[in-house]
């Protein structure tokens, strides 16, 4: 087995799973019925992407690993999702902003991954890109609506921006497995996605009347298993059933 290919695939899966899980916490709590359905749809898209990546990772790993064992039986230190995805939902504005940052990133990443030498990753990315394109359109409009909305919504977006901005840098700082994957033509160099990402964010922020913060300090560690305090709680919630009743199915 190519270890870095496995690790890289797992990283993509974890990003999608944890963000999907975070969004799913809105299920039944959305600000309006229609938006409840929208955010839950996006959760399902992301968890679907996670499944595709997990299934591939399980096949690479062999040894009776399954998509479920990878999702439900690994500990926090084994998860390699970016810190941004595990941040708390906060209010609707913060959830939107987190989605906006990630969708921008995923759309650039999946677009490049379509050309991956690894056919499986290329195929999964091509399929996921269509979904992400909609997530991006949806979150773009919400960022504009809230940023350029009322004084209250503008202030909340500024606060969310302040909270989330330090977690964006990590997206573009490659982990060792990303470097190896890039060198073999499996993955794009995430460093090169940064300018494009910043431009896209700045374009929408201008319309949303939000300032683009200075680059500043980046929180890192998620990609190598060093997480913020929140991931443990997410996993406790997500993995409780499998941990308490091993191999239970429903």
């Amino acid at each position: 087995m190519k270890e870095h290919l496995f690790k890289y695939t797992l990283h993509l899966a974890d990003n999608a799973l944890i963000l999907g899980h975070r969004n799913s916490e809105w299920c039944g709590h959305g600000p309006a019925l229609e938006q409840d359905i929208a955010i839950t749809n996006i959760s399902l898209d992301l968890i679907g992407q996670a499944r595709n990546f997990f299934q591939y990772a399980a096949a690479l790993y062999g040894n009776r690993a399954t998509e479920d064992s990878l999702a439900y039986l690994r500990d926090a230190r084994d998860f390699t999702n970016c810190l941004l995805t595990e941040q708390q939902n906060g209010d609707w504005g913060k959830t939107i902003l987190r989605q906006f940052f990630m969708s921008n990133y995923q759309s650039l990443l999946y677009d490049q991954l379509q050309q991956s030498k690894d056919e499986q990753l290329a195929a999964i990315s091509a399929k996921a890109l269509k979904e992400v394109t909609y997530h991006l359109k949806w979150s773009n409009e919400w960022v504009i609506r809230l940023g350029d909305g009322t004084d209250e919504s503008h202030a909340r977006m500024l606060k969310a921006l302040n909270d989330l901005w330090p977690y964006n840098g990590e997206l573009f700082i490659p982990a060792p497995y990303e470097v190896q994957a890039f060198e073999e033509g499996i993955a794009p160099d995430v460093k090169t996605l940064k300018n494009n990402w910043l431009n896209k964010v700045a374009t929408i922020f201008e319309e949303a009347k939000l300032p683009v913060p200075k680059e500043g300090f980046s929180q890192t560690g998620g990609k190598t298993g060093l997480h913020t305090e929140y991931l443990g709680y997410i996993l406790a919630d997500m993995q409780y059933l499998q941990r308490t009743y091993p191999n239970n199915t429903w």
Binding site: A32, L33, E34, I37, N41, W138
Partner: protein, 129 residues
Amino acid sequence: MIRKFYYGDIPEDAGSGGHAPSKDARSGGNTPSKNTGKDWPLWEVFVRSKQGLDHKHMGSLHAADAEMAIENARDVYTRRMEGVSIWVVESKHLHASNPDDAASFYDPANDKVYRHPTFYELPDELSHM
């Protein structure tokens, strides 16, 4: 008190609930759309299930503007491959017949069978009918 509105007759303050009906509850159809209350206006959704077919009324939903209404419609009504095209229109812009008029509107057509083409006998020479 229950307020009853017909399509096209939804006044600006509909949705705020609990207030006395406004005087012009039956004539508020053509005021410009304005989201004054905390509730978003209501939109009617029409979906075309495949190319060549008509858009069909699917239901209604709330949204702040047309763009959001289309996205909401996409999420609410086309999750299971139901559509290839979506129309939305704010409910207040639809005007509807009044159910109370049913007797005078529709019943008179009941006994006028000659309005159906099948009422007429066609000469044998006519083909392709």
